[in-house]
């Protein structure tokens, strides 16, 4: 597990506020604001799925992984530009999303002003009158303090609970 020092209560609070602000921004379709104010330009943003194998299977992790997201800043920007075209019929009428974040644990990294943050989340999406979908996920983040003293998301690895996606698509940020 995590062999690092946990952060102080004060830092823990700051980090939890960061995660909640992120969730609120994304729920409110403020993807551009999220990118420019909360994401580090050196971001690596990944959503990883792994095939289900027997416990004794020895194949390297990398060969078992498939990544619906493995994006740097430019690709996140590209995805947000797609939302900004206003041409996605899929998003009209608007869908409503609710991200609930919990089980937050934060630790000091070796680099000063860098923190490893673990969290769980549930995201629900409601659209087209009848649709009600939910995904459960875990995240391992690295946050870094920028020059202005605010926290920025430097890396995020998301693991979905489900192997076979049942929620139509995952075209949103977690």
């Amino acid at each position: 597990m995590i062999d690092r020092d946990p952060v102080s209560m004060e830092l823990q609070f700051e980090i939890e506020q960061f995660l909640k602000r992120e969730a609120r921004m994304l729920d409110n379709e403020k993807m551009r604001d999220w990118l420019t104010t909360m994401v580090d330009p050196e971001i690596r943003y990944r959503l990883v799925m792994r095939d289900e194998r027997f416990r004794k299977d020895k194949s390297p992790e990398e060969e078992r992984e498939v990544m619906p997201f493995d994006d740097d800043y430019n690709i996140l920007d590209l995805r947000i530009r797609q939302f900004e075209t206003g041409l996605q019929t899929m998003l009209d009428p608007a869908q409503r999303m609710f991200r609930v974040i919990s089980n937050v644990e934060a630790f000091h990294n070796d680099a000063q002003d860098e923190f490893t943050v673990l969290s769980y989340g549930v995201v629900s999406r409601f659209r087209r009158q009848y649709e009600n979908e939910r995904s459960v996920f875990g995240r391992t983040d690295v946050l870094r303090r920028d020059q202005e003293g605010g926290l920025r998301l430097l890396s995020r690895q998301i693991e979905l609970g489900e192997r076979v996606v049942r929620s139509k698509n995952l075209l949103f940020f977690l």
């Binding site: 959503l47 799925m49 792994r50 095939d51 289900e52 194998r53 027997f54 299977d57 194949s59 060969e63 078992r64 992984e65 498939v66 990544m67 619906p68 997201f69 493995d70 994006d71 430019n74 690709i75 590209l78 995805r79 530009r81 797609q82 939302f83 900004e84 075209t85 206003g86 041409l87 996605q88 019929t89 899929m90 087209r128 192997r163 076979v164 996606v165 049942r166 139509k168 698509n169 995952l170 075209l171």
Partner: protein, 446 residues
């Protein structure tokens, strides 16, 4: 008996909405399409070593595809022969045997029943284990590394089933070194009928600039107008005897990979030149272009975007999608890693094009819930009358911006569904080309 002729009007290019919804039609599809046609199972590079296995579906029958000691490949129904429990609970891996979780019957990777707990005590000395091996898929063959299985022992060989579609596959799957699948598939289940996604991939050029306008605009600056796909110089569509088809666009192949794999443009051009002595100049000229294609009934691929998909039916109203990224084996490791990510970025579960498609695929089927809606017919007539033969390209061709490929898909569907056997299906489709071109003349005479 179902009246298939009333469900798909081959001459007029229309289909009844009922074929996307009704359970009795679906059950007949499982029998006459999925238990009869050659179905994609996996790629050789997914199970390279002895004991490697991959679990997939043939219709709703789950199968284990396994590499044998002698290098051949067998496939078995994924079920214990004792009380019928699902046998292998992993989706891939390497094994010498599978033990049933219920009572412990153990089957070798060759399908033989190897051991039965307390055998002699409870079944006596004469229990014949050789009678109770795993049920084997009747035919398994591989074409350029792509492994297919067929439940019907009377089906023609795979290469014959692929027919003219094999000529097109040779162009990209026949590269020196061959093709490699990159990692496991991403998987998702959507609420659509299994026919709708392969119909979209076989030749729905019409939707590209409309449905995907947002993705194209974000990627390449401006979405091309739908009309830019019209006209004879935009490309062409192909249909073949057993319903396989493709749409070829003369534009550059890797356009959707351009954000993180811009080097693919040069790679494809260079490879195209190297393919000239292997497949000929005309065939090689297709290599660096963008193609969408479906092999009837339920797998599709995109050339230039490096995506291969299988569409598994889950009842008449759901589809499980398996999506693989693929590369050429000879590509540098680092490029393969970028392709693996970039392919899923456009056509994976969070794909910026896939997501728009899936909303369409679900909402073209949901209205079928309505009894009156379901009695209606669907229009698939675009480009009728543009069918032609071409000295350079096999199959029957038609305009790029047409529904020629889709019509071929439903022609094959109709032929399969109205035939009680492979013999009947072969007889029915023997003159498919003449029938298609004759129908064109009849339409023109109207």
């Amino acid at each position: 008996m179902l009246n298939i002729e009333a469900l798909v009007d081959k001459a007029n290019g229309t289909q009844s909405r009922r074929i996307f919804w009704e359970r009795d039609i679906y059950e007949q599809e499982l029998e006459r399409i999925f238990a009869r046609c050659w179905l994609f199972l996996t790629h050789e590079t997914q199970i390279p070593k002895y004991g490697d296995f991959f679990v997939t579906k043939m219709g709703e029958d789950e199968v284990v595809v396994a590499r044998q000691k002698d290098g051949t490949i067998k496939a078995f129904l994924n079920q214990c022969r004792h009380r019928g429990m699902k046998l292998c609970m992993a989706e891939a891996g390497n094994a010498r045997a599978f033990s049933c979780a219920y009572h412990g019957w153990a089957f070798g990777i060759d399908g033989d029943l190897k051991s039965v707990p307390c055998e002699e005590q409870v079944y006596g000395p004469y229990f014949d284990k050789s009678r109770w091996g795993l049920r084997e898929v009747a035919q398994v063959e591989s074409y350029k590394g792509f492994i297919f299985g067929c439940m019907d022992a009377n089906a023609p060989p795979l290469a014959e089933y692929l027919g003219d579609a094999a000529w097109y596959m040779d162009i990209w799957a026949g590269v020196p070194g061959g093709i490699e699948f990159l990692g496991p598939p991403s998987r998702s289940i959507i609420k659509s009928n299994w026919k709708s996604p392969p119909e979209n991939f076989i030749g729905d050029v019409y939707h590209v600039a409309w449905t995907h306008a947002s993705a194209l605009k974000a990627m390449v600056g401006e979405a091309p107008p739908q009309s830019s796909f019209a006209g004879e110089d935009a490309g062409f569509q192909v249909t073949t005897r057993y319903g396989h088809g493709l749409g070829l666009n003369w534009g550059p192949g890797p356009i959707l990979m351009s954000p993180s794999c811009p080097d693919l443009f040069e790679w494809m051009e260079r490879r195209a030149a190297e393919m000239v002595p292997i497949v000929g100049e005309k065939a090689a000229s297709l290599f660096p272009r963008h193609w969408d294609a479906t092999l009837f009934p339920n797998c599709s691929y995109l050339i230039g975007t490096y995506v291969f998909k299988a569409w598994h039916p889950v009842g008449p109203d759901q589809v499980e999608i398996m999506t693989w990224a693929f590369a050429e084996k000879d590509m540098p490791y680092e490029l393969k890693q970028r392709i693996k990510v970039a392919a899923h970025r456009v056509f994976g579960p969070a794909g910026i094009l896939e997501s728009d498609d899936i909303d369409n695929l679900e909402y073209i089927n949901l209205p079928n819930r309505g009894y009156v809606t379901r009695k209606g017919e669907l229009n698939c007539q675009m480009g009728m009358g543009t069918e032609r033969e071409d000295a350079d390209f096999p199959g029957v061709l038609a305009h790029h911006l047409s529904e020629h490929g889709q019509r071929g898909f439903y022609r094959a569907w109709s032929d399969c569904m109205s035939s009680a056997s492979w013999g009947e299906l072969e007889a029915k489709s023997a003159n498919w080309k003449q029938d298609l071109l004759r129908n064109k003349r009849a339409q023109g005479a109207e």
